[in-house]
Symmetry: C2
Subunit: 503 residues, 2 copies
């Protein structure tokens, strides 16, 4: 098993170099002063070029040929690891190093420019950066398409969610488009009669941060192997041994920051519970972005917006803001917290959207990015297309307001085309997982009401976290829930919580 062993050594080294990439990227978004951006972009570009070079060493072709002959002797996890190593290698060898470095440089500059220009609503200023990113992404998509025998956009999807195709997403999204508008309408009609007590703060940032950290502790985030910081756009970064999550704070609303923390905590717990014995090898990586998003949405939406969780969290929240809770107690009781958290209303910003309008934001992005990749939509026409899509789907216009329109997300500035569908697919998977977990553990919600997440963690660990990339996404979903990914559990959840208002 000499060939297989040699390949694992190469991948362990790649894992260590990607650690450097991950921490530098985190630093870029959380700590780095703005004027250091150019030097950082060069450093990341060179590092990624070198990682690419290490991932495509010419003798790897022979090693993979040799390892194929050895695969009969390999144990199942090693076989899966070989499959994942080969997958990575096929994708890497499709791209020349010069393209990897150019794309990295363009994406760093574009993301840094976006942070600055979004604030001033300056799409025209951002356009040259965006054009570069789109052009290089098209080039990469073409190269991957030829190598992998996939359409260019499918080749990008595959980077985040292995094997996922437009053909599989389209019917799921069609079903969402068919069923959501009615559900949204009914829910809004029902909620119109519902009183919601709110409190506009001010919520001091340091108290919000302490509350977030306490919540992370209760949710089982391991602070010996991770941190909470602040960034322009919340994310979960770092490495499994050192998970770095972020949120952002507003003085008039603590729920956005807190539920940002809960969401990222879902990602973080997945990272922290990947199979420890295999860390450093591709088989121990998270399965893909659909499963990853299912973990964050399961915590944020299914756990975090349940009546049981609200009962557990309300006293913690009130204790974090004692003066406000004393003067406006209603706003901090579980019922009103839940009403605030489940309010359905078309809005402009994806990350602040409710659970029902959220998929509409995704469908818009999915439609536009497919066209950006195939060239039928030009970067300069994105603001108009965005506005049209928002008007059609949610009845809102973003004309002249690109900051809250096509410039709101980091994904495109950072070159992450093909990621967005994962959010909606993750929402479907989350509903399916949580339904299955509740069926297995009869008193799951009682435990959650006590702030005890051990049973839930145990179920997730067994079916998802500890599996790493051992099985495919569809195997993982069917293994855990008994059925393939569909909209059914999500529809059931929407009907119960939103249309019927059963908490």
């Amino acid at each position: 098993m000499r060939n297989y062993a040699a390949l694992t050594e190469i991948h362990r080294e790649l894992y260590r170099l990607r650690h450097a990439d991950a921490i530098l990227s985190w630093d870029d978004a959380t700590m780095m002063p703005a004027s250091a951006g150019r030097a950082r972009a060069e450093a990341l570009s060179t590092l990624r070029g070198l990682i690419h070079q290490q991932a495509t060493q010419p003798h790897m072709a022979d090693l993979f040929a040799g390892a194929a002959d050895e695969s009969g002797q390999l144990q199942p996890w090693d076989q899966a690891n070989l499959r994942e190593m080969r997958r990575e290698w096929l994708r890497a060898t499709a791209l020349p190093q010069s393209l990897v470095e150019a794309a990295s440089r363009a994406e760093s500059h574009s993301e840094q420019a976006w942070r600055r220009l979004r604030a001033t609503n300056d799409f025209a200023g951002f356009l040259p950066f965006f054009r570069d990113v789109v052009r290089l992404k098209q080039e990469a998509a073409r190269a991957l398409s030829e190598k992998l025998g996939l359409s260019p956009y499918d080749a990008l999807l595959d980077a985040f969610e292995p094997g996922m195709k437009v053909a599989q997403i389209t019917p799921l999204f069609a079903r969402l488009r068919a069923f959501l508008p009615t559900a949204i309408g009914k829910t809004m009609a029902r909620q119109r009669t519902e009183a919601v007590a709110t409190c506009a703060g001010p919520y001091p940032v340091d108290r919000q941060r302490e509350l977030g950290i306490e919540m992370m502790r209760r949710l089982g985030f391991d602070f010996r192997r991770g941190r909470l910081d602040t960034s322009h756009h919340p994310f979960c970064g770092g490495v499994p041994e050192d998970v770095r999550i972020t949120t952002r704070y507003r003085a008039d609303d603590f729920l956005a920051a807190l539920y940002g923390v809960v969401h990222e905590c879902g990602h973080a717990k997945y990272q922290q519970h990947l199979p420890q014995n295999w860390l450093g090898l591709p088989v121990a990586e998270p399965r893909g972005s659909c499963i990853h998003e299912s973990q964050s949405l399961l915590l944020e939406m299914h756990v975090g917006r349940s009546r049981a969780f609200a009962e557990f969290a309300a006293p913690m929240i009130a204790a974090a803001f004692p003066d406000l809770a004393a003067t406006e107690p209603d706003a901090f009781d579980p019922t009103h917290l839940l009403r605030q958290l489940s309010r359905v209303r078309p809005t402009l910003i994806r990350v602040d959207a409710d659970e029902l309008t959220y998929p509409c934001h995704i469908i818009l992005r999915f439609e536009l990015e497919k066209q950006l990749v195939d060239g039928s939509l030009h970067p300069e026409d994105v603001p108009d297309a965005w506005d049209a899509g928002m008007r059609e789907m949610l009845g809102l216009s973003t004309r002249g307001n690109d900051r809250d329109g096509c410039m709101q997300d980091v994904h495109w500035p950072a070159g992450m085309f093909g990621y967005f569908p994962s959010y909606a697919l993750g929402a479907l998977a989350a509903a399916q997982f949580f339904r299955a977990a509740k069926r297995t553990c009869a008193d799951l919600m009682v435990q959650i009401g006590h702030g005890d997440f051990a049973r839930l963690d145990d179920w997730l660990d067994r079916h998802i976290w500890s599996q790493g990339s051992f099985r495919s996404t569809s195997e993982l979903i069917e293994g855990a829930t008994g059925v393939p990914l569909s909209t059914e559990a999500f529809e059931e959840h929407v009907e119960r919580r939103y249309v019927q208002g059963e908490g």
Copy 2:
């Protein structure tokens, strides 16, 4: 000039990879949770191995041979750059990649263990890590010694201060040993009659931090290209485009943190003013550790402890702690601040030592590390040797108190043997530079009294910062001050400020 150009390209790439190393190392000391240490050590080791591999590519021998033929066509700065590239290459090729990786790993583990074990005064627990570091450092010193034709310890000195030798340091340190005890005795006798008003705080950490940041602004630190954070041991890290300085806080003493900031700010301004047009190439690197330390000590000791600076800083300080300044105004007036800052008293901790006893700390470390490198002192015997040295030089014992003895500094745990002499050499250079600057700019102290550092910056920029590594250390010192490095200006300074007490 094809060969020279190819070499500069390699070095630009190395510069970008070292950016990654610098930020990861900063993160390790400031942000990283403890349990991530093992993964980080592996990542840094692999990255440094790769940097070493890039710095020793086999065809570089031919490129250097070819570049030597081209050197007649090169402009002076390119010639100096070629000299510095060659110097780096000679040192790098002396060491096998396996040793570089092993040393990096051992040093990461040792530094991480030191942070933990220093707190519990556990030298025995630290010893296995320390042994590894010393053994690998001896191995590196031997390999460098053979390649460079220097003694093993001189070969380590040369890493930090190019060309510096024990033979040059010994007479300077002998002179310090001869003259300091008398100066210390006289100063302490004089100060015994001097009343010093002090205030034990408490000084809230966030106010101390704000004061530090305001001081950095006044001193001209460019926050668009740098940050202030907290670490176990103050340092200046990062890269010239993004300088990361740190300090540490005590509730009962704001001066330690503030003057830590002033010290690191001296390093930072050097970094931020390196020759911009040459950044990315060795000729734009700081000249060496002696010059680097001269910049921090010039600011901390000569500027920061002058009467003029105290007049400028006192109102800023009082404004940072208004309640304390109102109740104990004497402790915050310039005279008493200066008295606190120039108090001479043998103490255990180097970084908190006064300007007169400080060189004694260095001489002790210099003597011991020479013996550690040549094997005449074993790691397990360091606590006893330290105690003996401290008793001889400063009349203090560290028996049973290794935390404040041989475990107090990060340098040995981090494998930085050969660095310590730079602090004392830097103190001599700082005195010499500041005397020269005052002679050139007659009203320098008046400007400083107004918090205006433009004239001083201009002098430093012209003679030191903008020179990068264009000239050698001795050329730099003689060019700026007219005389070679000696103890004379330092002695004059000590006599005036400490023995005579002339502020």
